[in-house]
Symmetry: C2
């Protein structure tokens, strides 16, 4: 049995979707046991099946718009997020899933679950859609606005293990986000990262990847600092939204467009779905002693189910243990 | 008469499009005189009308893929780019347009036309499409990988004058590209820029702008360092391309899609046009003693015409003189 802690109050829709997501997970995954953390009376409104699902009542909730996450984590000991994190720390559960405020989850996991011994930073690492539907890992997208080269290197090693064991890529290719394809492009920090990755035996480095190639690169992993990664992630989201609007406007601009629309309604709906998935599933938080999955704030029950599934696969694959082994090789040098 | 120097050899298609663009410009703009710099025999193949068009023969061409632009500018004295730049420096022409290698143009303009007295950096500042078709200025997109806050501030002042006199915005709004909307987000450098812009009387600062809002922000100008700006520019381009491919795939996936396509062919063509215009017209190079316009490498004759038109409007509006006056106010403080 894999035991997952689920922050039932996190996300824009709270228990209404988290409870349904949990019930879907126990139905489809025979080896999962879920504990829901949150307001019992609200959870019980939606919980119609409690096979392999437990409920732990929590008095409070950390707000989605929390601006001082460190204070919130330290003060709100009875919140659903803190109690769920504590359960992982105490080995009652093996991994945590939350759709709550990102910074509160990252800070809370940092303070309670703690960083792995040989990791110096945590990172947010979503899986981005690619044109060939294979997907790639982009990191960091916001946990660290700036990153020292040696810390980014550790994160690249972590991502390599995830790509191998979780995405099943044979010899995962790592690219460095940059503003030119040739070596020597970018800032001083990018050049230092380039050197480190190029000379590492633990990394299959393929050089720089530009923003224009983010959907078509052969890289399985693209690394950068949290400021740059967040810019790219958000720009993709903004561009996709704007493109969707533009397409709507152009179709509505003539009768031919409107008639054509009737024929290709379904096709356009599929297109919209591909546009809107700026990330595939939940975002993995790298660097902690247990798996931490951040589900989208706007997650529906299906997205919560997917995030739970990710947590299960992540735990089964022993990612963290394997990363620890790899990092020992760096430390021993 | 406004006198424009045109690097006839620059761009992916050379004289075949630059000459046609120049002829279109003299036809549509009664106050422009153009000098074409390049290989005479190639230019004359396409030049069927030489009213207000002169040709200056140049022996060599700086390659589009030039990797050492400083060396190229210093050595290739007889290249079309260097001769065109020299003509502006010597006041034979008032502005230059080139679709050649970006870095060669920036470095060449820097070395030959020289920086304005009170500007400490040059910047590449394209006009980006917005959902409402108004357009906004994004800078820097690659001239400086890193920028000191006070230099970014000077560039914001420059952009404000361009938005007023060239884009005809009344009190242009300036936003700072960042990874959160609240003050205090981002790197140390972003916070320093925020302070400077917020406290300036020369700038109408509206705070942070995130990547997700780049098509919908109310800002007329979005400022950042050249690394971040280039990432955003290229990510928009890559996303738009990928979205176009995805739409094609989805439409081709069913008969309904294919029939619908026949009805909305024209609409989809218009959509594609909006997708592909990752920039509006040429990119202005800020900070030099004369107007410098970088046309897209893949420019067709229409795009060359548009870049010439930009150079004319830019010159007519006395942008540089007006920027000088504004910058004096900073210096006097």
């Amino acid at each position: 049995m894999i035991k997952i802690a689920l922050d039932a109050m996190g996300g824009d829709f709270g228990p209404e979707v988290t409870v349904l997501g949990a019930m879907a997970a126990v139905k489809e995954l025979s080896n999962v046991e879920i504990t829901l953390y949150g307001k019992e009376e609200e959870i019980l409104k939606y919980l119609t099946n409690n096979e392999r699902i437990k409920v732990v009542h929590c008095e409070s909730v950390i707000d989605m718009g929390e601006t001082d996450p460190i204070r919130a984590i330290r003060k709100e000991k009875d919140s659903s997020l803190v109690k769920a994190l504590e359960s992982v720390k105490n080995n009652e559960n093996q991994a945590i899933v939350s759709a709550g405020a990102t910074q509160a989850l990252v800070v809370g996991a940092h303070l309670i679950i703690r960083r792995m011994k040989n990791m110096h930073r945590v990172a947010l690492a979503p899986i981005m859609p690619t044109l060939d539907k294979r997907g790639l890992i982009l990191l960091d997208v916001g946990a660290n606005v700036e990153l020292r080269p040696e810390h980014l290197y550790e994160l690249a090693v972590y991502a390599t293990i995830v790509a191998k064991l979780y995405l099943k890529r044979e010899n995962p290719k790592v690219g460095l986000l940059n503003i030119g394809s040739e070596k020597g492009k970018g800032r001083e920090v990018d050049n230092e990262v380039y050197e480190l990755l190029e000379n590492s035996e633990l990394i299959n480095f393929i050089g720089n990847v530009e923003g224009v190639d983010i959907f078509t690169t052969e890289a399985d992993i693209v690394v950068t600092d949290g400021f740059s990664g967040n810019l790219v992630l958000k720009t993709i989201e903004g561009t996709a939204k704007a493109m969707g609007e533009m397409l709507k406007e152009e179709i509505a601009a003539s009768l031919g467009g409107k008639i054509g629309y009737l024929f290709m309604k379904k096709n356009l709906r599929n297109f919209k779905k591909r546009l809107s998935s700026s990330e595939v599933g939940g975002t993995l938080v790298y660097g902690l002693n247990s798996p931490v999955i951040k589900a989208h704030g706007s997650s529906d029950a299906r997205a919560i189910y997917n995030a739970i599934r990710q947590a299960v696969l992540f735990t089964e694959a022993n990612i963290i243990e394997n990363v620890n082994k790899e990092l020992e090789k760096i430390v021993q040098k």
